[in-house]
């Protein structure tokens, strides 16, 4: 086989593969959006057009109506507050820890950090059983507090790891200079490190927000009395409801904030996750 012939075959293969990959990866999402934008009768008929000629927004209007059987509106609002609170709590707790892990030469700090990060890999059910017992006995089951505590616990190890990666990259000279000029450790952290690590803080906030927003198992267990609902739970309840179009609309609403955040902070997110720990 000549080299040009080989190149031609390779090109044909490349484009075929590209088309197949796009179809397989995008089709489910396309299907979801399509379903959310078509009337129930069209969805239920078995000859749905893959390229429809009209758009139907009633499902979104329906699920966002207050008091709808699928509590998506309430869930989105609750999740927004929960995720913001959790993201703030995580930042406040993780910043000093990340700074300490990055700068202090403590014996065994790498083992501690390694253990912390490993914990992030473990199934959450392990920790939910005793937390459930504790929260019930403290009478904080089914409250915002219980959810913020649980979320923060699950997200913190990851948050520390992310912030540490950012702090590690800061030049030490500036801090040393500040110390020579008489700054205390606390002042160095607040006045020197904090302003310089702003991209890290942004990344940490976005990560914690997304991770809280998508959390499902924790609220499923801790809101058994149904006093609070989160967006993920609201969506799940739509699977009991029989209207497929509304279920799709609820799913799109759950997905959108995460998708927008991921899109806006795409570079930041991939950079953090793929470069990883430089040590």
């Amino acid at each position: 086989m000549t080299r040009s012939k080989q190149a031609l075959i390779l090109n044909v293969l490349t484009y075929t593969a590209a088309v197949v990959v796009v179809l397989l990866m995008a089709f489910p999402l396309y299907g979801l959006f399509l379903t959310s934008l078509q009337p129930e009768s069209v969805i239920r008929s078995r000859d749905m057009q893959f390229f429809p000629d009209s758009i139907y927004l009633e499902h979104f209007r329906e699920v966002l109506r207050p008091g709808h059987i699928v509590p998506i509106r309430e869930g989105m609002w609750n999740s927004l507050i929960l995720s913001m609170t959790t993201a703030l709590v995580c930042l406040v707790a993780a910043l000093p820890a990340a700074y300490a892990f990055s700068r202090l030469r403590l014996p065994g700090r790498r083992i501690i950090l390694g253990t912390l990060v490993s914990v992030y890999f473990l199934p959450t059910t392990l920790f939910l059983i005793p937390m459930f017992v504790l929260f019930v006995s403290w009478n904080i089951n089914d409250t915002f507090l219980s959810l913020v505590l649980a979320y923060s616990g699950f997200i913190l190890p990851f948050e520390i790891w992310v912030l540490k990666a950012f702090i590690d990259k800061l030049p030490l000279e500036v801090e040393d200079a500040a110390r020579v000029d008489g700054c205390t450790d606390l002042q160095v952290m607040l006045k020197i490190v904090l302003p310089m690590v702003r991209p890290g803080i942004l990344a940490g906030f976005v990560f914690a927000f997304i991770l809280s927003w998508i959390e499902f198992l924790t609220p499923l267990i801790f809101t058994a009395d149904l006093k609070i609902t989160t967006v993920a739970l609201g969506l799940f309840r739509s699977t009991i409801d029989i209207k497929i179009g509304q279920q799709a609309a609820a799913a799109v609403l759950t997905l959108l904030p995460v998708a927008v955040l991921m899109l806006v902070f795409q570079n930041l997110i991939t950079r953090v996750l793929l470069t990883g720990d430089e040590n």
């Binding site: 489910p28 490993s118 927003w213 997905l255």
Partner: protein, 282 residues
């Protein structure tokens, strides 16, 4: 300065881990919320004589391997594609990364609709292509349903594996491949003798991480099948949930959780031995 975070993390992890350990060796009174009596190895012995638990364990390992292998191999193939220059590559890349932004619970709902017995697009497409003669009930049988869940998990895992492998591919020494091509090595040869061995240090830990992530799968199982039909999609993680929060047998659940922990820890240790530490979110 580590104190505030460490206190929270210890409270959320270490204390519960010990508490769960204690629970796994005792009978727990769920009404009065206190330890009833010491049970010794009862909970563990009960589990290991429970066929549902043993099946769930085997199923979990199968499920983990299936997802780890598929996500890594498909990720590798797509990464190889994206490593080539072609028109529209940027678009393909964006499309491939899309599922990353999908919350797991949405992924469950999404694939539930895709594989819906009456209105599912999978049925519609397969029927129009003539591959099936009538609509199938995909979630009606445990073994098939398990694979539907695996599809949902793999679809969500692929963006990370692709980006991770792509970063690895781009760090390879290009000139070695170019000079091999000049020396007459075929594409197959340079793939088998150079690319694959060079990529193994990235592919193996990546597959292990995917295995560990598969152990955490819950949302998709809950939304799609609730562990059914007939327990056919109950993985260990789901088994623990069922024992603890449906049957309220915390002792048994804790023992099962420790078995799951052991399976996971073995793999996590393997990863840290391999010295490639990555923290993905999905």
């Amino acid at each position: 300065m580590m104190a505030p975070a460490l206190v929270i993390v210890l409270a959320i992890y270490l204390y519960p881990a010990i508490f769960t350990m204690v629970l796994s060796f005792s009978h727990f009174d769920i009404v009065r919320l206190r330890l009833d009596r010491f049970a010794g190895l009862d909970n563990y012995l009960d589990l290991f004589s429970n066929p549902a638990f043993l099946n769930a364990t085997l199923r979990t390992v199968y499920f983990g391997c299936l997802i780890a292998l598929s996500a890594t191999i498909l990720g590798f193939l797509i990464a190889l594609l994206l490593d080539r220059k072609f028109y529209g590559r940027a678009i393909v890349r964006v499309v491939v990364v899309l599922p990353w932004a999908v919350p797991p619970v949405v992924s469950g709902v999404l694939w539930g609709q895709m594989f819906h017995a009456d209105i599912g697009f999978v049925n519609a497409v397969l029927e129009r292509l003539g591959l099936i003669d009538r609509y199938q009930i995909w979630l009606g049988d445990g073994w098939t349903a398990l694979h539907v869940i695996a599809v949902a998990e793999i679809w969500k895992a692929i963006p990370f594996t692709v980006l991770f492998i792509l970063a690895g591919l781009q760090s390879l020494p290009r000139h070695v491949f170019e000079s091999a091509a000049v020396d007459g090595a075929s594409i197959g040869q340079s793939f088998r003798d150079m690319l694959l061995p060079l990529m193994m240090p990235i592919l193996i830990p990546l597959a292990l991480v995917q295995f560990v992530w598969a152990m955490k799968a819950f949302d998709t199982i809950f939304v799609l099948t609730r562990g059914g039909p007939a327990g056919g999609t109950t993985t260990l993680n789901y088994f623990v949930y069922n024992e603890a929060f449906q049957a309220f047998d915390l002792g048994s659940a804790s023992a099962a959780a420790y078995v799951l922990l052991l399976v996971t820890l073995c793999v996590v240790l393997l990863i840290s031995v391999l010295r490639r530490f990555v923290v993905p979110i999905q």
